[in-house]
């Protein structure tokens, strides 16, 4: 699916809704739900983005960060400048793959914007269970999206994939739903009975696919109830361990999406207190599964028994 970044899309903007934000974007974002209303929390525009940030407090290979300012630089794709949690400027490289420009916009750039707005972005996929949210965190490749997709096949609705935005402004951690898509690899789609060939790739050059959710998506704000941190082990068994105290807090800090950005953006203290607030309301469990073979149905049964308890 290639949607060109044509002249029209550069001048006419549309309003979208995701992560609890009204987003007014000049770049078409077909992966997000359209929003209504007139007032936008965030604007996304094309513009000139500097090569470097003056006085960057922390920099990584592809980013520079300063309180209120964040620069993402991707060679052959685009530069993104994220400011004060309310504006993203995109400076695309000529002839860059448009899907790639959107992919990193809705990834690291949005991650930085959420950090700037003091919304806690957990590196997690999440589903709706009754009137709450159950989230699956863990390293890339551990099966977060696959697990969310499998629950969706069983009738659950997905609320987030990869970035699970948690707001603790009211004291209770609330999840605002993200994009109505799941990003899945070839083998995971096969496991789910989906034909990868019939789905768009996230980018032409990467063998990862986008599964649109339609009715399998819940666009809502719901309290976060449970967080499962997934990991794979070399033994053929499952383990479920309820975390408490420092282990629980560490799990929340460690599973924060692009935690490194905070070193430059500032707000580490606030982030820590948000994690502590989430920890007070949410049950956090470490889930270990065997490396060889996901045995997804058994894992789902184990988790369901736990979160329905």
């Amino acid at each position: 699916m290639i949607i060109p970044l044509n002249a029209q899309s550069a001048t006419v903007s549309k309003l979208y809704s995701a992560w609890g934000l009204a987003i007014d974007s000049s770049i078409e974002l077909p992966l997000l739900q359209l929003g209504d209303g007139v007032a936008a929390d965030v604007t996304i525009r094309f513009g000139t983005v500097p090569e470097t940030l003056d006085n960057a407090r922390h920099q990584g290979v592809c980013f520079q960060a300063f309180p209120g300012r964040f620069l993402l630089k991707l060679e052959n794709i685009a530069r993104y400048l994220v400011s004060d949690g309310c504006e993203i400027l995109i400076d695309p490289v000529p002839d860059a793959e448009s899907d790639a420009i959107r992919l990193f916009l809705l990834g690291s750039a949005i991650g930085a914007l959420l950090h700037q707005r003091s919304i806690l972005p957990l590196h997690a996929s999440a589903i709706r269970v009754n009137e709450g949210v159950v989230a699956f965190a863990g390293n890339s490749g551990v099966g977060k999206s696959t697990l969310a997709a499998s629950f969706m096949k069983n009738g659950c609705q997905v609320v987030a994939d990869d970035i699970c935005a948690v707001s603790v402004a009211s004291g209770v951690p609330l999840v605002c739903s993200g994009s109505p898509n799941l990003k899945l690899w070839h083998d995971a789609l096969h496991q789910l009975g989906e034909d990868p060939q019939s789905l768009p790739r996230v980018r032409d050059s990467v063998e990862k696919y986008r599964l649109p959710l339609a009715h399998g998506f819940a666009e809502e704000v719901l309290p976060l109830r449970k967080l499962y941190v997934l990991r794979s082990i070399n033994q053929d068994r499952f383990e479920l361990e309820h975390l408490t105290g420092v282990d629980k807090l560490n799990a929340l800090v460690k599973n924060t999406y692009r935690f490194n950005f905070l070193k430059g953006l500032g707000g580490k203290k606030e982030h820590f207190s948000h994690c502590a607030a989430v920890g007070r309301h949410v049950d956090v469990c470490r889930v270990s599964r065997g490396k060889n073979g996901f045995r997804i149905e058994e894992l789902m049964a184990l988790l369901e028994e736990d979160f329905n308890r």
Partner: protein
């Protein structure tokens, strides 16, 4: 001088053994270190390191894009580090299309290159990967061999170019042009005091006469196997029973057939001769 000291080897050549020796040496405890908690010697190809230091998801990138980032990530790690870094690596020393070394010469302080007789490597590799020995021999001869290819699912490690066994050895020893200390697995097994002392000196860890023998004892095969029996080892492959299996050099004499030995010698004879395996 800051920089990364690579603990480099072809897979199944004693890298974990060296890491656990260094762990015991650095910790200097009264008891052997937990085999599941080695001192900071992360693997260079860990996806999480690259994602964190680059600030993006490598799972959204092409292999060529990721490889462009890798040398910059190592330079970034060195720039942030307050002391020299130790990193495990199985990648061969290769160059990107623009001629830049994947592992960044600029970020590199040196390398301890662990080499093991390929006649023993094939047995260990077959066990680890759950293949037969002939498949392992074919893989050792393949200049295109890679670890963690994962085209259809996402491995937690990035793809690593191994080259053939001979290609791997020569890439580090001759082509890298970084200071390399060669550590033979067979010497670690037969004359551990001298082999491990040499490695520790090269790493700049020049400890006293008592600390090194203690670290050798605490990372002896018997100790590692005892701990694995008691609580398992997280780096074991799901396909093998034990990671620490025999810990001996020369096991091939009882395992390989004549035609298998001949194949390995035909593939790697000149490098084997150079390092005393023929």
């Amino acid at each position: 001088m800051n920089g990364i000291l690579w603990l480099a080897s072809y897979p199944k050549s004693g890298n974990t053994w060296l890491r656990l020796f260094l762990t015991n040496l650095l910790r200097n405890d009264d008891e052997p270190a937990d085999i599941n908690e080695p001192e900071a010697t992360p693997i260079a190809s860990a996806r999480g390191i690259i994602d964190d230091e680059a600030g993006i998801e490598t799972s959204d990138m092409t292999m060529a894009e990721i490889e462009q980032l890798r040398p910059l990530v190592y330079e970034q790690l060195v720039a942030q580090a307050e002391e020299p870094l130790l990193m495990k690596v199985h990648d061969a020393w290769t160059l990107l299309p623009d001629g830049t070394p994947l592992l960044s010469a600029q970020a590199t302080r040196g390398a301890i290159y662990i080499i093991r007789n390929p006649l023993d490597v094939v047995i260990s590799a077959a066990n680890f990967n759950g293949t037969d020995i002939d498949t392992a021999i074919t893989c050792l001869a393949d200049m295109e061999a890679k670890l963690a290819r994962g085209k259809k699912k996402l491995p937690d490690q990035l793809q690593q170019r191994l080259l053939s066994w001979s290609g791997h050895v020569l890439s580090w020893v001759d082509s890298s042009q970084v200071p390399v200390h060669i550590l033979r697995y067979e010497d670690m097994s037969q004359d551990p005091l001298s082999a491990f002392t040499g490695a520790a000196r090269f790493a700049g860890l020049d400890f006293d006469q008592e600390r090194i023998p203690k670290a050798i004892r605490f990372s002896s095969f018997e100790e590692l196997h005892r701990q694995e029996l008691a609580k398992g080892f997280k780096e074991k492959s799901a396909k093998q029973e034990f990671f620490f299996r025999k810990g001996k050099a020369g096991g091939w004499r009882n395992v390989l057939r004549r035609d298998q030995i001949d194949r390995i010698i035909a593939d790697h004879g000149s490098v084997m001769e150079r390092f005393g395996y023929l």
